[in-house]
């Protein structure tokens, strides 16, 4: 089901957690709400769920205004970071709970509830554990129970709040892949909150990057990574460095060195140039940005080098291991791809 959030503002004790947020969630997509803590991503998720009510603004489920609906009326599946399983119930009872509490008129017969719960346990690969109690399962297993429990009510939207946040790295990666599979198989509209950009980029169809209670950018992982719309997004997603530059008739200058031509609307005055460590070309000394090596460390299959360009301007670039490298030397490079943002704008 489509979910539309329009001009939502949320205050807690007069303190605004969300300012005028709008977001269209398309039916069947897997969308990530990504941002640092305090960016309002969890608040937005809880507003969609009906666990919080917006101060102003509306939330639509399909074409219907759902702003005034209670949690129960919204028919959403919610998965909590710390699972929130019912510890006094077996796994099977946990998964059946949503169906068992329905009013008599819409409640399926007992054997049907059981059949459906067992089916879901099979889907989340926990068959055979239905008689266990939650504290007898591992963290990853508990989170899968929580997902099965949320899916049991056939939710209009599936909402996950940092679903892998409490798990260790190995289990995280497995569950991530597995969640994608489940999503592709069941086709639920799914919104999940994360502060892990890698998780968001890998898992989602689209990302909504948030900061300080505002939506910064919404787009596919490729768009977000390759065309960040703000210094914040550029800095938050992936590695990046930036330089203060001066624009003169479209000519980008760092000190006296010309780095290239500005293509965007910015053409004159001070600006900031953002680039990624791997988007650089190493050039002969004197023909590019010259920097003294401050530090270097291994990052995956490459060497990441911190350079001092003088006047305390530090940047990071990637240098392949086959490149001759002198710890105390200097390196010349030119950014290959970059993005310009106005100097005045606040960001990273």
């Amino acid at each position: 089901m489509d979910v539309r959030v329009t001009n939502v503002r949320k205050e807690f004790d007069r303190f605004p957690a969300l300012h005028d947020v709008s977001l269209d969630i398309h039916s069947g997509e897997l969308i990530a709400l990504l941002g640092p803590s305090g960016s309002g991503k969890t608040t937005l998720l809880r507003l969609i769920a009906g666990l919080e009510m917006p101060t102003t603004g509306r939330i639509y489920f399909g074409d219907t205004d759902a702003s005034e609906w209670t949690v129960q009326q919204r028919n959403i599946g919610f998965v909590f970071q710390h699972y929130a399983l019912f510890r006094h119930m077996t796994i099977l009872e946990n998964v059946s709970f949503g169906l068992k509490v329905r009013p008599r008129s819409t409640r399926p017969p007992a054997n049907e509830i059981r059949r459906r719960a067992m089916e879901l346990l099979d889907l989340v690969q926990l068959s055979g554990l239905e008689k266990r109690y939650p504290n007898q399962l591992s963290g990853g297993q508990r989170q899968r129970v929580a997902l099965a429990r949320a899916l049991a009510i056939e939710p209009a939207v599936l909402l996950l709040d940092e679903p892998f946040g409490a798990l260790d790295a190995q289990v995280r990666r497995e569950l991530r892949k597995w969640l994608r599979e489940i999503h592709d198989r069941t086709g639920h509209t799914t919104v999940f909150v994360t502060h892990d950009q890698e998780e968001a980029l890998e898992l989602s169809d689209r990302l909504c990057v948030m900061s300080q209670g505002k939506v910064e950018q919404v787009g596919t992982p490729d768009t977000i990574y390759d065309q960040p719309s703000s210094p914040f997004v550029f800095g938050f997603i992936g590695e990046s460095s930036h330089l203060p530059v001066n624009l003169n008739d479209g000519d980008i200058r760092f000190g006296s060195l010309s780095l290239g031509q500005a293509a965007g609307p910015l053409s004159a005055g001070p600006a900031r140039l953002f680039f990624r460590p791997h988007d650089v070309d190493l050039v002969d000394p004197g023909t590019g940005l010259n920097g003294a090596i401050v530090a270097s460390r291994r990052v995956g299959g490459t060497r990441r080098v911190e350079l001092d360009l003088g006047v305390g301007q530090l940047v990071e670039i990637d240098v392949p291991f086959d490149q001759p490298f002198n710890q105390s030397g200097a390196i010349s490079f030119r950014p290959r791809r970059w993005q310009l943002f106005p100097a005045a704008e606040r960001g990273i």
Binding site: Q72, G77, A84, R87, G98
Partner: protein
């Protein structure tokens, strides 16, 4: 281990064994006669029935108080929280005298009920009130930590699954509190049965009506009837032991099953 056992034996086991030996020396027939004396049975009945009622009342209101203390933030909450423990610390005689003063027919609250013909002090109702007073902290302090552990998220999870508030309370919250509630009940009950100081002031101590077993033991001692006192004590000891054993079973069961409890 050795130290613990020695300590345990000196402090707890030896006095209890002495008690058991004393009454065992009596022979089953005379033990039975002493134990089934009408006044003894009456006192035991008064003790256990009133303690049962008081524990039941404490469970209801103790759970509510624990709930409010855990879930709500209000001015004076910390003071309120500290006051809960006062019955632990207050000399029971002080509590008894204070309660009697209030609930006597000419007391602040007793005067409200006197015109209706209801007497609280000097009746079993007074005993129940004294037991409620001294038993309350046991219930609150047993339930409070468990309630703090039951996260708010569990309630929200229940709501997102479509459960009404009532269903969330009856199917999610209360069942997860049940072991703690049972433990609190048993503790308050055991405390009520053993209570002496606060009750004798408010009870009126009328044999067969409002005379409690601990008082009867004291009376027997004053009559130099040590055998009679020992018999009542042994019967109470057996019942108390059964109770506390039940508490331990509940705790072990809840720990095994849910991985928490106390």
């Amino acid at each position: 281990m050795g130290f613990t056992l020695t300590y345990f034996s000196l402090i707890i086991l030896v006095p209890l064994l002495a008690l058991a030996f004393r009454s065992a020396g009596l022979g089953p027939a005379s033990f039975w006669i002493a134990a089934s004396d009408a006044r003894v049975l009456g006192a035991l009945r008064v003790s256990f029935v009133t303690a049962l009622i008081a524990a039941a009342v404490n469970v209801v209101f103790g759970t509510l108080i624990a709930w409010v203390l855990v879930r709500y933030r209000f001015p004076g909450r910390r003071i309120f929280d500290a006051v809960i423990d006062l019955p632990f610390a207050l000399p029971t005689a002080v509590a008894g005298i204070a309660l009697t003063a209030i609930y006597a027919p000419n007391g602040t609250i007793g005067a409200l009920f006197a015109p209706l013909g209801w007497r609280i002090a000097y009746t079993p109702a007074g005993i129940v009130i004294a037991m409620i007073f001294i038993g309350l902290p046991f219930v609150v302090r047993t339930i409070q930590p468990i309630l703090e552990e039951v996260s708010h998220e569990v309630e929200e999870a229940s709501a997102t699954l479509g459960a009404t508030r009532f269903q969330t309370i009856t199917r999610v919250l209360l069942p997860s509190l049940t072991p703690a509630i049972l433990t609190g009940f048993a503790l308050a009950f055991a405390r009520g049965v053993g209570e002496y100081g606060s009750i004798i002031f408010i009870a009126g101590n009328i044999p067969f009506v409002s005379e409690i077993a601990p008082l009867l033991i004291y009376i027997r001692l004053q009559e130099f009837n040590y055998v009679g006192a020992t018999v009542i004590a042994t019967v109470m000891l057996l019942i108390s032991f059964a109770l506390l054993f039940a508490i331990n079973l509940i705790q072990a069961w809840s720990r095994r099953r849910y991985g928490y409890g106390n």
